[in-house]
């Protein structure tokens, strides 16, 4: 194509300089025209035979042939030349942006090292099965999800999460495909085949996100359907009516009508709008924010209320012993008795007490053990009857208990019917949560709300520490959905409600909210399934980033739409009154396209 453009350009200049007239002039300009335009004419004819009349090729063909017909030989050839130059520019711009979005997503691993007969062999990651042992050397990309069985190293998770802080891994650490192994060699037992690996899922998600079209995209598609026929009809009217009404000057008006035809292609909009959304999604994934569709980006930009789940979202979701308050016993004795009593229970509270105890449990010392659901545990240890549980348990055995001034879940312990003290277990707030809430408020989010099933004291304490606007506690899952519906009723018409949860048990709320944001927990399947947006590193600060990206993308989309329509309208008007010529029309059409495409690529840039 480039060769043809240059050839045609040269021929055109020669033709222009040749002092010929009449039929010779026509022929001399037809040469460059044919060189550059034969395929446009051919496609126009072919498409008509398929029933597709009104396309770019047909319009350009009519416009330029018409120009030849009205004696504007240099213009006809030049317009065709500019058109093809423009088309080339457009393909390049689209190709380049596709490539740079693809490179953002270049997390695909190309090979895996597997040991065969003592030698390290490079194979396609798709051939690796679950249970195979792969070797990842320093500097290589980890090709599949797995567990480290040998080696110690640091991994760079930036490709997936946007986090530049490396993670230390050792034996029994989970590692995710797509991360780069930095310092030491690792031997990894594969837990998921390539198709199921995190990296494959993420790539899949981003590619499919292009199919979930935003409202703006659908609008443009519909608009384009009507735009072309309307402009063509306007052109016909422009060619026919003024000469009839004003008498004479057919050539002039037909010429202007031809200019209309040149502008009638809506390509600038049809290309740039989806490209902007695509760019926005790509830019977001570079920061570890997976957006499942352009439409979600649109909705997110109008977020007014953000509702958080507490456990696992704003807090770490781990239960740690934060206080041991014995009555008459030593701290270590109290925790020992509690740990032994809880040793047969699977409850997370039991697990955290056992962890705090830290020593091995000698089962010989436990004569009997009973779990009383909703209350606690009862066991006989070293001949002593130990009851550990909540206040309801204490009441039922008639032991006087006193509450703790620390907020948290309190486990009271009674030995042989007498109160022995209590242990407080609480969840840790994520270090990033406070900053996350502040960032949202700085961006003008009207309401930040937390919903939790936790007790009033714990919930309100956490809410105060985080600076949240509202908190609702002691909610059952159904209660959470109710509250979200209530809150949806309070927002303004255009405002949207986003719910942030860890996905596992928040599915109904995630779907009820306008936008469901899940903590990806480095790839928890349930979360990725249920939500519209997934934060790959569980960092709530990323919500503010996501909102920034969505606002920027929407701004670019509107800029392009307004710019393209304004310029086209201007040229139509100028063309109708005879000020703008065909050259201007082609330049405007093509120039607008290229500018819109370049602007759309800005959506990819994130700070």
């Amino acid at each position: 194509m480039l060769a043809r453009i240059i050839a045609s350009g040269i021929l055109l200049i020669i033709a222009w300089l040749l002092p010929v007239k009449g039929i010779w002039e026509l022929l001399v300009f037809i040469v460059p025209y044919a060189v550059i335009g034969w395929d446009v004419l051919w496609k126009a004819i072919r498409n008509i035979s398929h029933g597709q009349v009104f396309d770019e090729n047909f319009l350009m063909a009519i416009a330029t042939v018409g120009a030849f017909g009205t004696g504007e030989y240099p213009e006809a050839a030049a317009v065709m030349l500019f058109y093809q130059i423009g088309e080339l520019f457009q393909s390049c711009a689209v190709g380049k942006s596709r490539k740079s979005i693809a490179s953002l997503m270049d997390i695909r691993p190309d090979y895996a090292n597997i040991e065969k007969d003592g030698q390290l062999v490079q194979v396609d990651p798709e051939e690796i099965k679950i249970g195979d042992i792969i070797v990842v050397k320093a500097g290589e990309k980890i090709p599949l999800d797995g567990i480290v069985i040998e080696g110690k190293s640091t991994v760079d998770t930036a490709a997936l999460t946007g986090e530049s802080l490396p993670r230390t891994v050792g034996v029994n650490s989970d590692v995710i495909s797509g991360c780069i192994n930095q310092s030491g060699m690792l031997r990894i037992r594969v837990t998921k085949v390539f198709g199921e690996s995190t990296v494959a899922k993420i790539l899949d998600l981003v590619e499919n996100s292009a199919s979930k079209k935003a409202k703006a995209e659908n609008f443009i598609t519909k608009f384009a359907k009507y735009y072309t026929p309307i402009v063509v009809i306007a052109a016909v009217l422009l060619a026919v009516i003024p000469p009839l009404v004003l008498g004479g000057g057919w050539t002039n008006w037909i010429h202007r009508a031809l200019i209309f035809l040149v502008i009638s292609c809506p390509c600038a909009l049809v290309i740039s709008v989806p490209l902007s959304f695509f760019g926005g999604i790509g830019g977001a994934s570079k920061k570890g924010i997976l957006v499942k569709g352009g439409n979600y980006l649109e909705v997110l930009a109008n977020t007014e209320i953000v509702v958080f789940d507490k456990t696992g979202t704003l807090t770490k979701g781990v239960f740690n012993v934060t206080a041991i308050h014995p009555d008459k016993y030593s701290q270590s004795r109290l925790i020992e008795l509690a740990a032994y009593a809880e040793s047969y229970s699977d409850h997370p509270i039991a697990k955290s007490i056992i962890e705090a105890y830290g020593c091995d449990i000698d089962n010989e010392r436990i004569t009997s053990s009973e779990e009383l659901s909703g209350h606690g545990v009862k066991a006989v240890i070293d001949g002593l009857e130990v009851c550990a549980g909540n206040d309801k348990l204490m009441e039922s055995i008639g032991v006087e208990w006193h509450p703790c001034h620390h907020t948290g879940t309190t486990v009271h312990v009674a030995v042989n019917g007498k109160y022995a003290g209590h242990i407080v277990i609480s969840d840790e707030i994520k270090e990033t949560s406070v900053a996350a809430i502040k960032a949202l408020k700085d961006r003008g989010i009207a309401k930040t709300v937390m919903l939790t099933g936790d007790s009033k004291a714990v919930g309100e304490d956490t809410a105060k520490k985080l600076g949240l606007d509202m908190v609702y506690t002691e909610l059952l899952p159904a209660g959470k959905v109710e509250k979200v519906e209530e809150l949806i009723g309070t927002k303004s018409e255009k405002g949207k409600l986003a719910f942030v949860g860890d996905g596992i048990n928040d599915a109904p709320v995630l779907s009820r909210a306008d936008i469901g944001i899940a903590m990806g927990a480095m790839g928890s399947d349930a979360a990725i399934e249920a939500a519209d947006i997934v934060l790959m590193d569980d960092n709530p600060e990323k919500i503010a980033d996501a909102i920034d990206i969505s606002k920027k993308t929407i701004k670019i989309v509107y800029q392009n739409i307004v710019f393209a329509l304004a310029v086209k309208l201007a040229i139509l008007v100028l063309g109708a009154v005879g000020i703008a010529g065909m050259w201007a029309a082609v330049f405007a059409d093509v120039g607008v396209s290229v500018i819109a495409i370049l602007n759309a690529m800005r959506a990819m840039k994130t700070k």
């Binding site: 029933g51 199919s211 598609t221 384009a224 359907k225 292609c265 049809v270 695509f278």
Partner: protein
């Protein structure tokens, strides 16, 4: 059932839009999305629909709109 097909030589965004609109009109098709950006076509149809037959019709339709574009039927 949702199926994704790769498109080769889809040069015109307008044509992508036209293809999408045309395929949407087909009875068996519940939803379709043609992405000019990723060069992919996603078609959703009821589970009892014969996709091979459906795709033959889709290919014919698309050939009328954008003859240069090819749908990769794996």
């Amino acid at each position: 059932m949702k199926k994704v097909f790769k498109l080769v030589d889809l040069d015109c965004a307008n044509c992508a839009a036209k293809m999408e609109n045309a395929i949407k009109e087909m009875d068996e098709v519940e939803d379709v999305s043609v992405s000019f950006m990723t060069q992919k076509m996603t078609i959703t149809a009821a589970d009892d629909v014969d996709f091979d037959k459906l795709m033959k019709k889709v290919v014919k339709l698309c050939r009328k709109i954008e003859p240069d574009c090819e749908i990769v039927l794996k």
